[in-house]
């Protein structure tokens, strides 16, 4: 066995030499070739000659500092037309030794791995950039929808307000009443549609905002019923409201939002029910209001029920399907904002039942100044829309108020200084003037009046505007005569 190790080493050296095809170069300190062993052409170094200068591409691997004595290795060095190699450099007496070892196989494996990693990284970055671009486009779209929805509110306030006003002027003319009811219903339907669109746009920008306050459930349900009973009547459907006996008279919740949810759910139930009717049930327990809207409609199959709360979905098979397909989406988002979740119980052919419960603590005590008189109260109202200004003047005058109107900032301030009103009601957009700035000026110094903002721009992230803290109340258009007078009375009425 003597010489076995040596034989083994020689064998391995032969294999390694075959694989790595080493090229050994010795150069002097002037970088001229002294001697070499191996195939220079394999590494792109043609016609090696003693005394010739080292290839200029390789020259930079040799340290500039001749005192450098450390051995050095360069991995995966690639000269044009040559395979990648590992290059080793050592200091010799009066020169340098350079060894080049073929690293083609190792390089190929690393290249394949690195190539796929980099391509994946590039794809990921492209995808992230695309997502960011889409999100930006979506935000712009949402702002556009929010802006357009806001533009709808002002004319709708006029339509609803003036049709209500006309109904009061001609209470005995049944035909006119019938026509005006149709106008009012259409406008309110449109308003609900706009509210849903606006909320969908808002929910994509930020969380939906709630403005809870003390309210009466009976009033909310009455308003919804007034809106939807004629629709149910036309389709010869019953619409019944059931209240548990122990519901507190007044609850703390966002009445406008609850009304919106009820209009969506009850309106949907009526729309999809062919015969029978719709029941709306209210119960209250431990500070939470429980609501159920049940119908005798066709029910919803499992596939539709799974996606029914997604935006722009319309259940299949309903030839009378209409609307934007946002009602249930928005209702779910609103109920979630109010601390609950809309749940659907349904089976095909057996009707549907939507249930939810929301935070609604009982409110103790009476209505405060709501029942007081507004007679002889001096009110200044400022709005750049002349039709709305006239409508609000009519409503306030009918309650005995002494009303002054203005359409811009300067006349509002002038009138307020002259008449020393009990309240000033301001639109936020007064033509080119800013209602918030007027409010700030009115609130500066000695206060003698209540300041109310009545705007078509809801308080949401799409319409962020810093309002001065002198404001006593903020209301949103459209507003009904009752809401306007009751809100004002709560602020300034004489309660006797």
């Amino acid at each position: 066995m003597s010489g076995g190790l040596q034989s083994l080493r020689q064998h391995i050296n032969r294999i390694l030499t075959r694989q790595t095809r080493p090229l050994y170069l010795v150069v002097d300190d002037t970088l001229r070739l002294v001697e070499w062993r191996g195939d220079g052409s394999h590494y792109g170094l043609e016609s090696l000659q003693a005394g010739a200068p080292l290839d200029e591409r390789l020259a930079p691997i040799l340290p500039i500092d001749e005192q450098e004595t450390r051995a050095h290795a360069w991995r995966f060095v690639q000269l044009a037309g040559a395979p990648p190699c590992h290059v080793h450099v050592i200091r010799l007496d009066g020169g340098w030794g350079v060894a080049m070892l073929d690293a083609g196989a190792e390089h190929a494996a690393q290249l394949a791995q690195q190539q796929s990693t980099h391509e994946l990284l590039l794809l990921r970055r492209e995808r992230e950039a695309l997502i960011a671009e889409l999100e930006q486009a979506n935000r712009l779209k949402s702002r556009f929808i929010a802006g357009m929805s806001h533009e709808f509110r002002t004319p709708l306030t006029s339509i609803i307000g003036y049709s209500d006003q006309l109904r009061e002027i001609r209470p005995d003319d049944r035909e006119t009443q019938h026509h005006l009811n149709a106008v009012g219903r259409g406008a309110r339907y449109l308003l609900n549609l706009v509210e849903n669109l606006l909320d969908q746009a808002r929910s994509e920008i930020g969380p939906l905002q709630l403005h809870p306050g003390a309210c009466e459930l009976a009033e909310i349900s009455t308003e919804v019923e007034q809106l939807l009973r004629p629709v149910a009547g036309q389709r010869q459907l019953s619409l019944a409201w059931w209240f548990a006996s122990d519901i507190p008279a007044r609850l703390w919740l966002d009445a406008i939002r609850l009304k919106q949810v009820l209009i969506n759910l009850v309106g949907n139930a009526i729309k999809f029910t062919e015969q029978g009717g719709v029941n709306v049930e209210f119960d209250w327990q431990d500070g939470r209001l429980q609501v159920a809207v049940a119908d005798t409609g066709p029910g919803i199959d499992e596939a539709d029920a799974a996606v029914i709360f997604e935006p722009f979905r319309q259940t299949a098979g309903h030839n009378q399907a209409k609307g934007a397909g946002l009602g249930l989406t928005i209702s779910q988002a609103l109920v979630q904002a109010m601390g609950g979740e809309v749940r659907l119980n349904t089976r095909k052919g057996e009707g549907s039942r939507f249930e939810f419960s929301i935070d609604a603590p009982a409110v103790r005590g009476g209505r405060g100044g709501e029942g007081g008189s507004l007679a002889d109260k001096k009110i200044v109202i400022a709005d750049d829309d002349p039709d709305l200004l006239e409508l609000f003047r009519l409503w306030l005058s009918s309650a005995g108020c002494r009303v002054e109107t203005a359409r811009d900032a300067a006349s509002t301030l002038e009138i307020a200084r002259r008449v020393r009103p009990d309240a000033v009601i301001l639109d936020l957009d007064l033509g080119g003037d800013d209602g918030a700035a007027v409010a700030a000026e009115l609130g500066a110094g000695e206060r003698h009046c209540k300041i109310v903002i009545l705007s078509a721009a809801p308080n949401d992230p799409a319409n962020e505007r810093q309002l001065p803290d002198v404001i006593d109340a903020r209301w949103t258009k459209p507003i009904s005569r009752t809401e306007l007078l009751r809100g004002l009375a709560a602020l300034i009425a004489d309660t006797g």
């Binding site: 200029e56 020259a59 995966f76 990693t117």
Partner: protein, 167 residues
């Protein structure tokens, strides 16, 4: 004529290899092919002064979030060209960071910054403020397109002139 080592440094896929390919061989490959290790090439540059300088270009594998630059390749470089991709803002941040670490290793040697992919300028992610911030550093900044060759010769020639000026 003395050859001078110039390193190309930047993030992966910013176009370092394509710039060298355009500059040395007047070619451009559409397909992205990553670099492992370093590719070495040479090119002689004629300067306005009438002098010539031979650049030994070390095209070093780009930096990624999984692999830093192998700084051993920088040793004894006479200058360097930082390369960023105008369509990827993060590659400019990288170039700025790399410059600091290269300067720590090489000292203050001539260098330039090129914003590559100028043919895609309508898709660039570099706003005016970011570019102004680089200008404020007093760096020599060029715009290049390895695809059509615009600005490529100029970028290398300017660096070559700086190298000649320094020695």
């Amino acid at each position: 004529m003395r050859a001078r080592k110039v390193c190309l440094i930047g993030d992966f896929a910013v176009g370092k290899t394509s710039l060298v390919s355009r500059f040395v061989h007047s070619t451009f490959g559409e397909q992205y092919l990553t670099t492992v290790g370093v590719k070495i090439d040479t090119k002689e540059v004629c300067l306005p002064s009438g002098d010539s300088v031979k650049l030994v270009l070390w095209d070093i594998a780009g930096k990624s979030e999984f692999a830093p630059i192998d700084t051993s390749y920088l040793r004894d470089a006479a200058g360097y060209l930082l390369v960023a991709d105008g369509t990827r803002v993060e590659t400019l941040h990288s170039a700025v960071e790399l410059q600091a670490s290269v300067e720590r290793q090489l000292g203050r040697v001539p260098f330039g910054l090129v914003l590559n992919k100028a043919d895609l300028e309508d898709r660039w992610a570099l706003d005016r403020n970011r570019l102004a911030a680089v200008d404020l550093r007093g760096w020599r900044v060029g715009r290049t397109s390895a695809l059509n060759g615009n600005g490529v010769e100029t970028a290398f020639a300017q660096l070559g002139a700086q190298l000649m000026h320094e020695t």
